[in-house]
Amino acid sequence: MAAVGETILEVRDLNKSFYGVAANEQVNFDLRAGEVHGLLGENGAGKSTLCSVLAGLYRPDSGEISLDGQRVSLRSPHEAAEHGIGMVYQHFRLVPSLTVAENLVLGLKGQGVRLTLRAVETRVAEIAEEYGLSVHPSAYIWQLSVGEQQRVEILKQLYRGARILILDEPTAVLAPQECEKLFEVVRHMADQDHSVVLVSHKMEEILGHTDRVTVLRGGRNAGTVPTEDATASQLATMMIGAEHMPEAGQHEPRRIDDAEPVLTVTDLHVTGDRGTPAVNGASLEVCRGQIVGIAGVAGNGQREFQEALAGLRPATSGSVRLGDRDITAASPRRRSQVGLAYVPEDRLGTGLASGLTIEENLVLKSYREPPHSRFGVLSSSAIAATARTLVERFDVRGARRQMAVSLMSGGNLQRAILARELTRSHDVLLAASPTRGLDVAATAAVRGHIRAETDDGRGVLLFSEDLAEITELSDLILVMSRGRIVGSYTPETLDVEELGLLMTGAKDHGAHQDGGRAA
């Protein structure tokens, strides 16, 4: 085993692309024995791709991986495990109806026909003791809390002899106390000469619990620095990139001083899937002719916020008003009828029903209205006519009449959703990551449609993880972190460094309570 501080893992010029889109470009990375190495970057920066290559899940298009100075190829998770690399995913891979010990030996070769669980349990208890991972080996997975299940995942890797442990956003699923416990375990492992790669987009975790940090941006290296020399603002700049800093007055903000608010959210609280608060008192206002962008790292309550605004998730308290109407408790259909258009993040599956045809999807919200149906009977000719018009107007390509939309490309799916949403009468457009994964032409088309909304006096609330998109389109930029609006900028007052700090939670203005309207 390498001595502490020696490089044990080295990645050189790694390239990996999916469907022609580069996820990793010329990425370099090195890991030393006994260190906790932070991997920081925005969503889509290439962190997960790099980790998946190291874990043997993806094969690189080109590039070299060396372990202890020897070039290796990691062709499967099994091979990676043989080289002592183990990964703990965000979504645990455990069988709930089996015990901890049973899960640990699941899929392991060389077990023989008879399971000797007693021996496994003894060994597990030893490892658990050694690393401070308190888990009972004969407990069933379903009995364990999320934090305990994560410890089982870590135990599993240690049991299989991992000396390099990759933790993919391990705190995303944990409560604060459990996070503290996790970092104790991580430190303990490093003290025992194991190396830990800690993937995160939370600044304080990186600053507080790593020895070195590598920042990725857009699939490329943005730099590697010792954590003790790094500052939050330096890392935030590396993460977001100087080229994303918009120059002041890059676009003329529309004057909204005398405009009436068309969407008003007051002190909204929403509960997430896990029963914990996801949105904690968000307030904002969108005026006619205004685009309000909400920047933030995924998982800070944006999805729950959108769903609450769209009526797909109940608000626990607070209110949502559309013009003069209170729609806090209105159904999704009612909201659509009174003027809320919604372009959801999940295009195929939520925005569109994947197995239905383009025609059926284009009338997904208007099928109950004449001329598409009368007295519950659909008019296929009226539906076909509407579809023809929309397909032509929004340039939706690649659709055939009887074909399921799931076979269309992402850009055309988004055009179809926009065609349906924007041609219904509405006052507010709620758009979530509207250009994610789209090519240049489709991105330009989608942004063009969003801009055109304001010309007609409508308001737009734009959620995006793409900061460049937010700054390019928005008249008012809000920052969301931990379920709150924590910052508010106009294009003139925008301070990207500060915004990065707010996004990553390294800096907290305290709850931003001025209603979101720019000063």
Partner: protein, 371 residues
Amino acid sequence: MTLRVSVEPRARPALAVRVGVPIASLAAAALVGAAIIVVSGNSPLEAYRTVLDSSLNGVRPITRTLVLATPLILTGLAAAVAFRMRVWNIGAEGQLYMGAIAASGLALWLPADTPKVLMLAAMIVGGSVLGALWAGVAALPKAYFNTNEVITTLMLNFVALYFMNYLIFGTVSFWRDPGRNYPQGKLIPDSAELPIIHHRLHYGLVIALIAAVVLWWVLRGTTWGFELRTIGDSPSASRYAGMSVSGKILSVLALSGALAGVAGAIEISGTLKALDPRAVATELGFTGIVVAAVARLNPLGVVPVAVLLGAVAASGAKLQTIGIDAEIVFLLQGLIFLFVASGEFFLSNRLVVSSTSAAMSQTPATEAAHE
């Protein structure tokens, strides 16, 4: 260089594939069935000739096949409509029993001189209502507490079966003929019998065919059907579009139960003429699931499939006379289901054989499969 076989999704299969795959599946089922018949010490050729002779060769065999197909069309539709929304109603069996109990009860309770049209209408409506209510027992907890309908509908089959048995075997109920020593249902009056088309073939077939066409149109041409298909395709998109999923669960299960209930009413009125639990409980509801699956949940497809399975069933008695167990009929039905369901895979996917060099990187599709 190595040869690699990979699976690729098919966009929309060509007509030749859509027709060819089911035929190949049937042929495969017949072939495996033949092997089993050989093992059991009989001649498969003779067995299959008997099947064809006793089900399709001549007017009487054909009427027998159609009489057996009639309830299968209705229970096939019952399964198809629910399965289209991915609501797994396994309870058509019990819903059919309840339909039979309601229809025979009404036929015995209403005056025997009630006009035939009114009598038959009352029986069919009564059967469908009790079938729908019986499905509703499972639908309410499914819609509001998200209980697993597979378990509830399946268990309710047993409740319905024992209730029906109790009415005839367990007590001298209104349904039981008190004049006989052996427990038996009372015969329904002539006014409660469906008119005959030819020989033993009754107008229940026409009712079943009308139900198939109407259901096909409802799924295709109404907002109700559109919502059902959307919810079945993607629940998340349907909620986004403002559809009420729980309300739909209630109406779909009610319709499914009603169709099975009508099947029960028609069995009483057209074939059995009395509530005879042993003749009612012949797995018509379960076979309907096979019919729906083989018909790919298409209401019009249900008709030929029901006729096919009816033909196999029609030959059961005749097979026994040549020394082959009647159970072979169920075996053949099972094989047809198995092979057609496997054939489904080839309708939506195709195998691609390609030669690749081992060094070539994996495609993203196979990588995703590793996860």
